[in-house]
Amino acid sequence: MVHGEAWTIKEFFVYPNEYIYWSIQIVMYPFMTGLVAGAFVLSSLYHVFGVKQLKEIARFSLVFSLALLPVAMMPLLLHLQQPQRGINVLMTPHFTSAIAAFGIVFTTYGMIVASEIWFVYRRFIVDSVLALRGKQERSAVDTLRLVIYTVLAMGAMDLSSEAMHRDERAVGILAAIGIPVACFLHGYAGFIFGSVKANALWMTPLMPVIFICSAVVSGIALCMFTYIVTMEIRKLILTWKRKDNPWLPSTDDLKSAEVQVVTMTAKYLVMFLVLAITLELLDLIFRGYTAVRSWDILRSVIYEKDFTKIFILQYGLGNLIPFILFLAPRLTVRRAALGSLLVLLGVFMMRWNVVIGGQAFSSSFAGFMEYRLPIWPDSLENFKEGLLGALTVITTPFVLFFLVTRVLPVFEVKDSH
């Protein structure tokens, strides 16, 4: 079977070499980079615009952004037919191609996020080094932690108020530079699709903007949801531990996710959601109105074949219901959690409907291709480009986040701001 044949079902006339080449991993990739960009923008709302209520979630989303970054590479490496040559994008970049921007933008963004985290956590790192050095007896774990923190400190042990002040300024500058870079990181992903004149569904100048807006939406939604869930889990763990150790502090001291923080974050979420929906509907209306040559087949795909995926899942469950949930008065934390989850579903379906939807019709405009996501992998290719490959990608950021927070904790830490 050639690549794509296993999960493509052709209907009527499709060119012989046409298959669904860009499948689930190419849906995952903009979804993951969108989460990266969105998480970063959320954290910048505090660092750059000084929205004080977002302080707790800002640190959380910054670290999450770092955990998401290597995961953004995963779908690409799983998709490439020659992943070991992926480095060629950095070696001989052909900048007339949007994908070549990936190397530069990704590296730049990674360095900005890493640097910003360094400045935010520098005080904590130095404190940890000093505490561990002062310890009389060091276990193996302690020695390892000392090594890690010493390397991370990079010799900058100055904790004077002047140095702290410099840290704060650096964070502000990096967060400010980081916003356009994060936008670029995801905007170029939209450009990858929007500039393909050969694809009637993808080709629109609105694509980069639609992608950026829905990226910010997804990032905020993910951080809000993970933040709420993490706070609840911490309370649950403490309650469970207290059963055997009643001397541990009560859950009253452990704050729940604050309604004010959630409400404020939800406000920004709704703003970007409105923008994203406006652009997408604009695109659809224009296409129907101008009715160019490709409209006949696109209409079949949008209103018939993909009707459920587009109007029920993406616009209905993913946009309309969260809209109602967030805008109804007296927002509760539980409603916000549900709303964020549905928003994430909506953003995922948007990526699906663009990537897979764009390949649901043949370039001959005389046939269709149906996508059958491989569930059980009977070959390496079906694993990489199937359900299990997608699940691997979606679970890895949480694993990485857990690992990173062993070194850089996100709760109750004295940091530089």
Binding site: F13, P16, Q82, A98, S363
Partner: protein, 261 residues
């Protein structure tokens, strides 16, 4: 903290400074300058397809597969033939079973998942065959979108793929409006018709041109005024596929009809 005026001044200097060396890179590309100075090269390959003469025998597809080592049973091919059958009710039926590797031997239309469609001869208003292959465009969108420079155009107009450099991202495959590209099932890199570059570079014709018994396929050199193919392209009514994409394709069709996709 500098004031706005100073910032603007410094910004202009920085931008100007960056723009200058970047511009120099393009202007002083010595090879490009040399090529432009000598004028257009001696050879520019072009292809001529006569859809009246094509009978849909599929010998071209078979020959191409063997000559260019595309696995015979794989459902991909560097070239193929499409059949168009227009019936009385105005519907156009199109098919290309296995890319016409085995020719067209039945009147039934292969509709893939929808099965075979019976068409009675009385219903046929017109029917014809259209061979397709890579157009070796003058503005190849596939080359433009390759992120690593694995696909490129030679000075004589043929677009090639470097099998040792391609990372297999598939952007070129998505970027081609004619869907001539695919992933090679053995090498796992992008693949497409290259006008049998190994044959035309030593004075032979492409495998499909040699295999066609009816003269439906011909290849020629646009820069040679005496080339019979060039003469036809210059003097007769020819058409190209999907001109609206701005790719400037170099495969010319005689007997083109509005139904052709």
């Amino acid at each position: 903290m500098m004031n706005r005026r100073e910032f603007c001044k410094k910004a202009m200097i920085v931008v100007g400074g960056i723009a200058l060396p970047l511009a120099a890179l393009e202007v002083f590309n010595p090879m490009r300058l040399q090529a432009e100075k000598e004028g257009p090269g001696k050879v520019r390959w072009a292809f001529l397809v006569d859809t009246q003469k094509c009978v849909g025998c599929g010998f071209c597809v078979k020959a191409c597969k063997i000559e260019n080592e595309i696995p015979y049973d794989a459902n991909v091919t560097r070239t193929w033939v499409e059949r168009y059958v227009v019936t009385r009710d105005g519907t156009t039926h199109i098919d290309s079973p296995k890319g016409a590797r085995d020719g067209f031997t039945t009147m039934k239309i292969d509709q893939n998942k929808e099965g075979l469609l019976d068409i009675s001869p009385a219903d046929i208003e017109k029917a014809f065959f259209v061979p397709k292959l890579c157009n070796q465009c003058d503005n190849p969108p596939c080359v433009q979108v390759c992120p690593v420079g694995a696909t490129y155009q030679t000075v004589d107009g043929v677009v090639l793929v470097d099998r040792n450099w391609c990372i297999g991202c598939g952007y070129c495959i998505m970027g081609c409006p004619y869907s001539v590209r695919f992933f090679h099932p053995v090498y796992h890199v992008a693949e497409k018709c290259n006008f049998c570059y190994h044959r035309i570079s030593q004075g032979m014709k492409t495998a499909c041109v040699d295999a066609c018994p009816f003269g439906a396929r011909r290849i020629g050199n646009l820069r040679d005024q005496d080339d019979p193919v060039t003469k036809i392209i210059m003097t007769q009514r020819v058409n190209v596929l999907k001109e609206e994409y701005g790719t400037k394709p170099q495969v010319f069709y005689l007997g083109f009809s509005k139904e052709v996709k």
